[in-house]
Amino acid sequence: MLRDYLPVVLLAALAVAFAVASMTASRLLGPNRPDPVKLSAYECGNEPIRLPKGEKFGVKFYVVAMLFIIFDIETIFLFPWAVTFRTLGLFGLVEMAIFIGLVFVAYVYVWKKGGLDWAEGQGPASVREARAAAEADLGEAARAR
């Protein structure tokens, strides 16, 4: 039975081998003449001034990760349901509808309580206002033209 996974293992081994081989090849074959300008971050990053000591993540990351797990578990339940849903019939459909409905309640709660707002004043309400303002601007621009 485990032999069924041989292709997966082979693919994984191939992927690792390719990554290692190309890194090694570029290290061995490529010319290596570093200077401070080449080593500096160029256009796509800032020069690190110091190590991020004592710097802390916002608690918001944690809330998002926690919510992700909740809906992740929902997905885990959905998968076996989806592969058997023909045999489960109407009972299975109703059952899953109730489950999703209940988890949806949690979603509504989190959304309305601002758990999905990334920063102050970016909630659904403020987005609507911003959009209204933008549309008004566009309208004015069109009229002006």
């Binding site: 039975m1 485990l2 032999r3 996974y5 991020p52 000591k53 004592g54 710097e55 802390k56 993540f57 916002g58 608690v59 918001k60 990351f61 944690y62 809330v63 990760a65 926690m66 919510l67 992700f68 797990i69 909740i70 992740d72 578990i73 929902e74 885990i76 339940f77 998968f79 076996p80 349901w81 592969v83 058997t84 045999t87 489960l88 009972f91 299975g92 059952e95 899953m96 109730i98 489950f99 209940l102 988890v103 309640v105 949690a106 979603y107 709660y109 989190v110 309580k113 601002g114 758990g115």
Partner: protein, 188 residues
């Protein structure tokens, strides 16, 4: 030696070693990474036991989502907080190690006496799993265990409330503290 045994004997030492290394590791991020290794080894064991669905769940939920959560918490608390692992009770550590070993031995002998360490799958296992492991699981989960399944959704709702109530309050407290600090700075 059959392939199953080879795979087991490759991954079992890695699992045990990574678990022990995680415990003695002082750096929280390194401990979390070792935990991922351990989770992957356990996932492989599920595969060996003929439970590919659990294998996938283990990788997706534990090695994926839960680990991200761990790392966020570590970052939240700051990576290099001086560890306050000073022992308050004298002899607590040896006592814990001794009792833990005793418990492990007890479980070991109880399992050997109860179900034995048979190398074969239980009778009828192949038949149950015929047509796919996920399908077999679904037939049990969504029919015999449909009520516990629905009850899980209530648990998920409570978990969502918990995340919101506890974390949001903390966020507010941090913002408040920051504002207060800024206020003091202005006065000074």
């Amino acid at each position: 030696m059959p392939l199953d045994n080879v795979v087991f004997w490759v991954f079992a030492p890695i699992a045990v070693a990574s678990a022990i290394a995680m415990l003695v590791q002082r750096n929280a991020v390194h401990a979390a990474l070792l935990l991922i290794v351990n989770f992957f080894c356990i996932a492989v064991f599920y595969l060996l036991l003929g439970a590919p669905f659990l294998f996938a769940v283990q990788v997706i939920v534990y090695a994926g989502a839960i680990m991200v959560l761990f790392l966020f918490v570590i970052m939240l608390l700051g990576v290099d907080r001086g560890d306050t692992l000073r022992e308050r009770l004298v002899g607590q550590r040896p006592a814990a190690i001794g009792l833990g070993l005793a418990l492990a031995l007890e479980v070991f002998f109880a399992v050997r006496a109860g179900v034995g360490f048979a190398a074969k799958a239980p009778v009828g296992f192949e038949k149950v799993n015929a047509g796919g492991n996920a399908q077999a699981l679904a037939r049990v989960l969504f029919r015999d265990y449909f009520f516990p399944f629905e009850a899980t959704s209530v648990l998920l709702i409570v978990a969502a409330i918990a995340a919101m109530v506890l974390a949001q309050r903390k966020a507010r407290a941090i913002t408040q503290a920051g504002a207060e600090a800024a206020g003091r700075g202005e006065v000074a």
